[in-house]
């Protein structure tokens, strides 16, 4: 199996200037390396500030990496100019967390879903419409949805629309940045099932980012645990959950509340500054 996406030593440092011009550096991502093969589903799990979303933003180049390389099919795409990157953007798409702000309230679902293909160019209106209908059907929405506005849909339905939009350009890699975190459990189950079906039907490669270990376990074959901008441990999801080798991973698993799991008496419930 050849590597589809290779991330090597990726680092992102944010510089903020304080009140008196004092420069503060925040290492959002610190030397992360990751290889994703075609057809894999990789889960990235970690608590807030661990750098998981920064990693997603760097891969789709919403932000520029400070150092390191990103290779797609062996080709270095880290420093491509926007014009050179444009044809490659088709291959990597992203779904964001917030189902409310990820769809423009002024556009109809038809316009929203058509966007990526329209930007790509070279497709007739009819082709775009047909593909939009096919994808909406695949995510369980009626074609009538095309003429409606985002506010007419529930959070779960909007998230499915976001997924349909991301799939318009037939991407190979779909990055899912906390796609179900804002949803109710029964709706989350719907979206996760749809994602599982789509992956099978369209032979997609997933990079699934979540703070929820159980969700990551459900959707991905490989799990990467991150903390403070670094990879703590990675491996097959089963192994990470049943036999974690790092203390932090164990703590994380231990802290997840589960039905039927007895309440844990903490040795040290205190928190300090």
């Amino acid at each position: 199996m050849s590597a589809l996406l290779e991330i090597e030593n990726l680092t992102k440092t944010f510089r903020t200037r304080g009140f008196f011009g004092k420069v503060k550096e925040v290492h959002a991502l610190n030397g992360v390396s990751l290889t994703i093969h075609k057809g894999e589903s990789i889960g990235i799990v970690g608590e807030s500030g661990c750098g998981k979303s920064t990693l997603a933003n760097l891969i789709v180049r919403l932000e520029e990496p400070t150092s390191g390389t990103i290779r797609l099919d062996g080709k270095d795409i880290t420093h491509l100019k926007e014009e050179e990157l444009r044809p490659l953007r088709r291959r990597i798409q992203i779904v964001f967390q917030d189902p409310y702000s990820s769809l423009s309230p002024r556009m109809t679902i038809g316009q929203i879903v058509a966007e990526p293909m329209r930007v790509l160019g070279g497709h007739s209106e009819a082709e775009i419409r047909e593909r939009a209908e096919t994808l909406l059907h695949m995510v369980g929405l009626q074609p009538g949805a095309l003429a409606r506005y985002p506010h007419e849909f529930s959070g779960g339905q909007r998230q499915r629309i976001s997924i349909a939009r991301a799939l318009m350009t037939e991407p190979e890699i779909l990055i899912l940045d906390e796609p179900t975190s804002a949803l109710d459990v029964s709706v989350q189950a719907q979206v996760l099932n749809i994602l599982t079906d789509l992956r099978e039907k369209l032979h997609l490669t997933y990079l699934f980012i979540s703070h929820n270990l159980a969700v990551v376990k459900y959707i991905s074959d490989q799990t990467v645990v991150m903390r403070r901008g670094e990879v703590v441990e990675m491996g097959p999801s089963d192994r990470i959950l049943t036999a974690p080798s790092e203390k932090y991973t164990r703590e994380l698993i231990e802290a997840v509340p589960m039905i039927g799991k007895p309440f844990r008496l903490l040795e040290d419930p205190a928190e300090s500054l």
Partner: protein
């Protein structure tokens, strides 16, 4: 899942009409502005006299069946002059707002979206203009360029641009961080189209509110300038200019200043009423 296909939706204009009907005050605003525009457009048909026809023997007559609004010091029919005045005032208001908003939107969008040097330059000029009281600045500019309606309009436009620039820049800064704008970037959408297709439409509501209120303001400023003698020059039947001439007769011939003044008041009120209600009309969420 079980969405029903979208029912046949009423056309957009019908929806706008229904929302306007729901709010009585907004509807009043629309009726007032509609009437003023209609009167202005049809002035040549509706006006009983030529607005500049002098009839010295009939000078300074009070309201009568022949002259419902009375006559001025040259015996001209005030009703006819007020009707023609509607033309000028509406045109002045609309042109000032259209031009200043267009320039302001472009500058504000550039400034907000790209930031950096462009932003610093645009905001420096904007802040400078905003530092002056707008009336005083408009006065100074007109005085420098010379009196006249066109110069007044130009001056008011310059004074008004920064308001739209400011508003637009703030809106763009907010919209830029919205997920749908970020999503558009991941499709490879070019910056121009991101601004034009995603950001500007979502800034329209506050912009339209500001613009509608702005028409009223612009009419008021332009009339004030004419009143001081810098704007429209007599015998142009401009409301502000008419009141200016009427000052001398204000005590004995009340109708001379009253009717143009009332016209200004009603017109501005009409625009303000629309401005208050327009938010509901433009928001797609307020439609069913």
């Amino acid at each position: 899942m079980n969405e029903t296909a979208a029912a046949v939706r009423p056309s957009r204009w019908k929806e706008i009409w229904e929302i306007a009907l729901r709010n009585k005050l907004t509807l009043t605003g629309f009726i007032i502005v509609g009437l003023v525009v209609l009167v202005g457009l049809l002035a040549p048909v509706l006006a009983p006299y030529d607005p500049n026809l002098m009839d010295i023997p009939a000078r300074l007559q009070g309201p009568s069946s022949a002259h419902p609004f009375g006559t001025d010091e040259m015996g001209r029919d005030i009703l006819s002059r007020v009707m023609y005045g509607a033309r000028i005032s509406i045109a002045v208001g609309v042109i000032i707002v259209a031009v200043s908003a267009a320039i302001g939107v472009v500058l504000g969008s550039l400034s907000g979206y790209f930031g950096g040097k462009i932003d610093q330059a645009v905001m420096a000029v904007t802040d400078m203009i905003l530092a002056f009281p707008s009336m005083v600045l408009a006065l100074a500019l007109t005085a420098a360029m010379g009196p006249g309606l066109l110069n007044t309009m130009l001056a008011v436009i310059i004074v008004r641009i920064p308001m739209y620039t400011r508003l637009m820049r703030g809106q763009v800064l907010v919209q830029k961080e919205q997920q749908y704008v970020r999503a558009a970037r991941t499709f490879g959408e070019k910056p121009f189209w991101i601004v034009a297709r995603h950001i500007v439409p979502n800034c329209l509501t506050p912009l339209m509110v500001q613009m509608t209120l702005g028409i009223g303001d612009a009419i008021l400023i332009a009339s004030s300038m004419s009143f001081i003698g810098l704007g429209a020059q007599p015998p142009t039947p401009e409301w502000g200019a008419m009141i200016s001439t009427a000052r001398v007769y204000a005590i004995d011939q009340w109708w001379y200043a009253a009717f143009p003044g009332l016209s200004i008041l009603i017109t501005i009120m009409g625009f303000n009423l629309i401005g208050d209600g327009i938010r509901d009309i433009l928001d797609p969420r307020s439609r069913k």
